[in-house]
Symmetry: C2
Subunit: 459 residues, 2 copies
């Protein structure tokens, strides 16, 4: 049974102060569900959340604590004793502890650090030094290491002895005396080998690994490409310092995608879930981009203004402006979204630029011609004949459709060039999405429109 | 060493016809990298790709074959003997075989099916019947099942005996005589227990599972929420019929995100990588949406046309149309992108509608007021004073800024209501993204603009 099904029962225990019954129920539940319950409880009544948290056994307490968000963690830290806090810190995986430290306010971090053992404190401090979003900052130190001279029997015995607190036991890492990574062996391989086989003979020496300074996106690409359960992380001296497991990478992937989607929609990325963002916080993440784009759009307005007198003689042209702008924006965002996504999936690289341009050029010609043709028929038949708008001459329709085709062409080429250039010069291509492309394409579209109108319609 | 580093060397072997050396090199490489090499080779020379494929050992051949895309798989199938084909089919995991069948042309599928054993054929046929994107269609039948009366010793012995061809051995499923799922036990738990412990006493009975008909998105949400390595899939009678492993789910997640991003950019989703899509294929996926949106945008044009005579007296108003349309579109897409992403992450539900509306309303008021204020100053100082555009009166500026604030309000509310309504009535919320919101908001914005202009400026 998941949390939603149990919710009422659990809250009933709280109302009736049946803490013993609640404790028994919680013991049977999944860590993730207990964390959800605590968060739910904390939203209304943080005090009883802390009380409920203290009902949990020590080991499960640490695991569930790691699943909570920073505000709930802070409440709990402030409600427990130093001894309890020390117990949690020591039981947490290093990557979870580091995640927490990065979110908590400074005074709480100080209290946590004061209660950690010197060894844990050193490791946490070291991890906090890795750049944000690097392999080092998301790795964990709890892995199983083996030596190449061990037998399978000895290795399995070692796993049984030290495996309890490891983040994964299924992939074991073979290291030399000076902690250099020499190979990798899975528990599957161990179980399917003979007890007397030696690790050196069965280990895989062609190890896929990451450096502490690698970007987390590259780490997740490797885990996903090579279907790994965990990837070893080495420092500059090729010493094994940690591992990143697939469950952590799934969270990283989700975060990266959310970040990309936010950037593509012209929002400063946030790492908080939407419902936890305050109104002011949301406003701060959105308003700079809206302002920037609004100011940019006034240039488009200036193009119109400079043709004001010409427009006054042919006001019929104004009616087509929304259609031209929207179609340009949509054409550009189709291409830019495709390119941005393909870049982040690693499907295309800068060296593909010309083949992509050639492809988009042909797509643009096809799309431009189809749209122009449909629009021409629509304008002549619906607008002119059926709706009787006699201001629309054949020449006006031709100017509109020619502009439309050229706008689609410009939009598709911009939508392909800008994200790839951004990637090339080290910017995030996701910023070169719909909003920016639209603003640029609007200006191009109107310039073309008025240039054609002036020369063909002589206005 | 990864494929990029080896590329030249491998192609050298081909040119010099050093097939033996190539075979040795390939044996040391990762399956993923070999698949990349074959794909690369196939792009220029499919014939030698098939030759190289036949250099691989039987087991590795099947694994690498599963990594290839449909066109390469087809080439290879057409170049190998029936016996070789039968070997590959039997060695492939069911989920990979099913994926392949769904992509291959009918005549190739027939040949593959003819060469499979009756047992494999039955399983594949059964899997092909599950709805697309359901848990049933992505699961695999290769899991380790245990009985609750077994000891840890017997269980480990069973894993060693049957584990070789299982997609994962790390999570084992405990089933009753009639194949009902009773519990789950990890290899970690087995290794950390005593040899004489009985499965029933150590298994976890609170199993997180999926139904064959569940959507793959729900399956990936469970795997990611509960940090699972694999999730069991049961049929209507609660019988265990398969499992979905985390590495398959990562691919599903990436596909789902790509699909969402494509829909948000008004493109019919595709499951082919961009570089493999033909120009016509891309055109087909994009043109219907462009046409639909273009036609919708003409309604906005009709709004302008109906105010044509009024506009002719105050042409200065036309210059602000692009800015109003773009800002409306951007405001709407910020909100819709946030809401769509939060829905697909499971962060918000329909029951949150009113709290979200209330939040977006306040954000919209803040954004609308800031934008209007900046715009007012910009219009009065830059456009009127510095650029000397005396057509812009105080009243004109007020109309523009009031319209701007109301546009932002409408955009943010639309951007929040439409995706949530879509989700509620069973449509994909991703379709209610920027392009559609923009089209609707454009119309609203212009209606407000002209209504205000007519009543305040008396045009």
């Amino acid at each position: 049974m998941d949390y939603d099904a149990l919710r009422e029962k659990l809250f009933g225990f709280i109302t009736d102060r049946k803490l013993k019954a609640l404790q028994l129920e919680l013991e049977d539940m999944n860590e993730f569900d207990v964390a959800e319950f605590l968060t739910d409880l904390g939203a209304n009544d943080p005090k009883s959340m802390a009380t409920v948290f203290r009902l949990l056994s020590k080991e499960r307490g640490a695991e569930i604590f790691a699943e909570l968000d920073a505000p709930e963690q802070e409440w709990i830290i402030n409600s427990i004793t130093d001894t309890e806090l020390a117990g949690i810190i020591e039981d947490m995986y290093v990557d979870d502890a580091v995640d927490m430290m990065e979110e908590l306010p400074a005074n709480v971090v100080k209290r946590v650090m004061r209660n950690a053992t010197p060894g844990t404190r050193d490791i946490i401090n070291q991890y906090l030094k890795y750049p944000e979003n690097s392999a080092g900052s998301i790795m964990t130190a709890e892995f199983v290491d083996l030596k190449k001279y061990m037998s399978v029997r000895e290795s399995i015995a070692r796993i049984r002895r030290i495996g309890e607190n490891k983040e994964t036991i299924y992939v074991c890492y073979v290291t030399s005396g000076d902690r250099k990574l020499e190979g990798v062996v899975t528990v599957k391989k161990l179980l399917l080998s003979n007890d007397d086989d030696v690790i050196e003979d069965i280990m895989d020496t062609n190890v896929i690994f990451a450096h502490t300074t690698d970007d987390q996106e590259d780490v997740s690409e490797k885990i996903s490409d090579y279907d790994l359960l965990a990837i070893p992380v080495v420092d500059k001296e090729s010493r094994l310092v940690g591992i990143v497991t697939v469950d952590d990478i799934i969270d990283v992937m989700q975060e990266e995608v959310t970040e990309d989607i936010e950037k593509m929609a012209a929002i400063t990325p946030s790492d908080k879930p939407y419902l936890k963002q305050s109104v002011i916080y949301i406003w701060k993440n959105r308003i700079p981009w809206l302002l920037l784009l609004m100011i940019s759009a006034t240039f488009t307005g200036m193009i119109i203004s400079s043709f004001e007198s010409a427009l006054a003689t042919q006001v019929v042209l104004v009616g087509f402006i929304p259609m031209l702008m929207d179609t340009g924006g949509n054409s550009g965002s189709q291409t830019s979204a495709t390119i941005i996504r393909s870049i982040s999936l690693g499907d295309i690289e800068f060296s593909d630029l010309f083949s992509i341009l050639w492809k988009e050029l042909r797509v643009a010609v096809l799309c431009g011609l189809s749209l122009a043709a449909v629009n021409f028929v629509k304008v002549m038949v619906v607008d002119r004949m059926l709706l009787g708008n006699t201001d629309i001459s054949f020449t006006v329709a031709a100017v509109v459709c020619l502009t439309l085709a050229l706008t689609v062409l410009a939009a598709k080429l911009m939508g392909c060039i800008l994200p790839m250039l951004a990637e090339k010069i080290g910017f995030d291509p996701a910023v070169m999405a719909s909003p920016f492309i639209t603003t640029i394409v609007d200006a191009i579209s109107l310039l073309v429109y008025f240039a054609l109108a002036t020369s063909i319609l002589h206005i």
